[in-house]
Amino acid sequence: MSAEHLSPEELQSFVDGSSDPATEQRLSVHVRKCSACAAALSNAAKLEEQLYEVAAARGWAPNRARTFRRATRVLVPLAIAASLLYALVLRPRAIVVNEPELTAAAIPAVICPDGPDQRQCVREAHARGLIVSYPATASGPAIGAATIQGSEWSFE
C-alpha cells in the first residue's frame, strides 16, 4: 500500500474523467496498488451514481439517451416514399426504390500485443478513449495495432 493517498479532488477528477492523460495514468496506477484509495474511489463512484439516481427521481432525465436509430428505419421509408412520388407523379413509367447511402466511420480500436507490457498498453489505450482488442480475440482486418517504443505506446 502506498504511504501517500490520493486526495478527494484527485479521486473526483478520476470519476469525472477530467484529468489529463498523464495524471489519469498516475491515479490509475496508484489505485491499483493502494487498497485504501481503491475503496475511496469506489465510494466516490457510488456517490456519483447515487447523484444520477437522485436526478432521475427528480425528473431531470440524467440518463436521457443520446439516441441513435438506425438510419434505415427512417431513411428507407422516406426513400420509398420519395421514389414512389417520383415514379407516380413525375415519371410514371418506372418505379425505382433506392436504399439510402450510409456513411462509414472509423472506430479507434487497437490490438494490445501479448506480453508483460500488455496491461500498460491497455491502460494507455483506455486513457485515450480507445477500444482494446487482444490478439487471441481479434478477428478480421478491422482492428488497429499498438506498438511500443521505449516506454511509450503508440496507436495506429
Partner: protein, 177 residues
C-alpha cells in the same frame, strides 16, 4: 513501397462509436466501480461491453442505441456474469445459491428513504447550485468545460458548486446510515 493502411474498424451504419466512448466511457467504468468492481476489472468489462455493442450494431442487431444506459446495462450484465463465475469457481455453491438469487446489479443504489433524504438536501441548495446540478447530471454526455460554458460560469465555479452538492448529499446519506 507505400506504408500499409492503418487497420481500423469501420461501422457501416455511420454511428460514431469513438464519440460515444469519449462521451460515456468513464460513466460506464464508474457504474461498475460503484457496484464494487475493482478498477482493473471495471476497465476491462467496460471495454468488453463497448466491443460487444459495436459488434452487435455492426451485425444489425441494435435498432436503437441509447447512451449511456445501453452501455451501462451491458457492462453491469458482464459484471454480474463475472461474479457468478467467480462464485462458482470458489466452489462455495451452498453460500452462492443464496447470494446469486439476490444478485441484481441493476438495482438502485439508493433506498427510498435515502432518496428522500438526498432530495431534501438538494432542495435546500441555492437556485444557482440546483441549476448547475440539474444541468450537469441531466447532460452526462457533456464535459464539465462545456457545461460551464453553457451555464456561463467558470469551470472552477462549476466544480466548486458540484463539490458542495456532493458534500451535502453525502452528509444526508450518512445521516440516513
Amino acid at each position: 513501397m507505400p506504408a500499409p493502411e492503418p487497420r481500423l474498424a469501420v461501422v457501416s451504419s455511420g454511428f460514431r462509436w469513438d464519440d460515444a466512448i469519449a462521451a460515456h466511457g468513464r460513466r460506464v467504468v464508474v457504474a461498475l466501480l460503484a457496484r464494487g468492481a475493482p478498477l482493473h476489472q471495471a476497465e476491462d468489462l467496460a471495454q468488453e461491453a463497448w466491443a460487444l455493442l459495436i459488434r452487435k450494431e455492426q451485425a444489425g442487431g441494435l435498432k436503437t442505441i441509447e447512451l449511456p444506459g445501453l452501455a451501462v446495462r451491458q457492462a453491469l450484465f458482464l459484471l454480474q456474469d463475472a461474479q457468478r463465475k467467480s462464485t462458482r469457481e470458489t466452489e462455495e455453491l451452498a453460500a452462492a445459491a443464496e447470494q446469486t438469487t439476490g444478485l441484481d446489479l441493476e438495482r438502485n443504489l439508493l433506498s427510498r428513504e435515502e432518496l428522500q433524504r438526498a432530495s431534501r438536501a438538494l432542495a435546500a441548495l441555492s437556485p444557482r447550485a440546483k441549476e448547475v446540478f440539474e444541468f450537469v447530471y441531466g447532460h452526462p454526455e457533456l464535459r464539465h468545460e462545456e457545461a460551464a460554458n453553457r451555464l456561463s460560469i467558470s469551470l472552477q465555479r462549476l466544480r466548486q458548486t458540484l463539490y458542495e452538492v456532493r458534500q451535502r448529499v453525502r452528509a444526508a446519506l450518512e445521516e440516513a446510515a
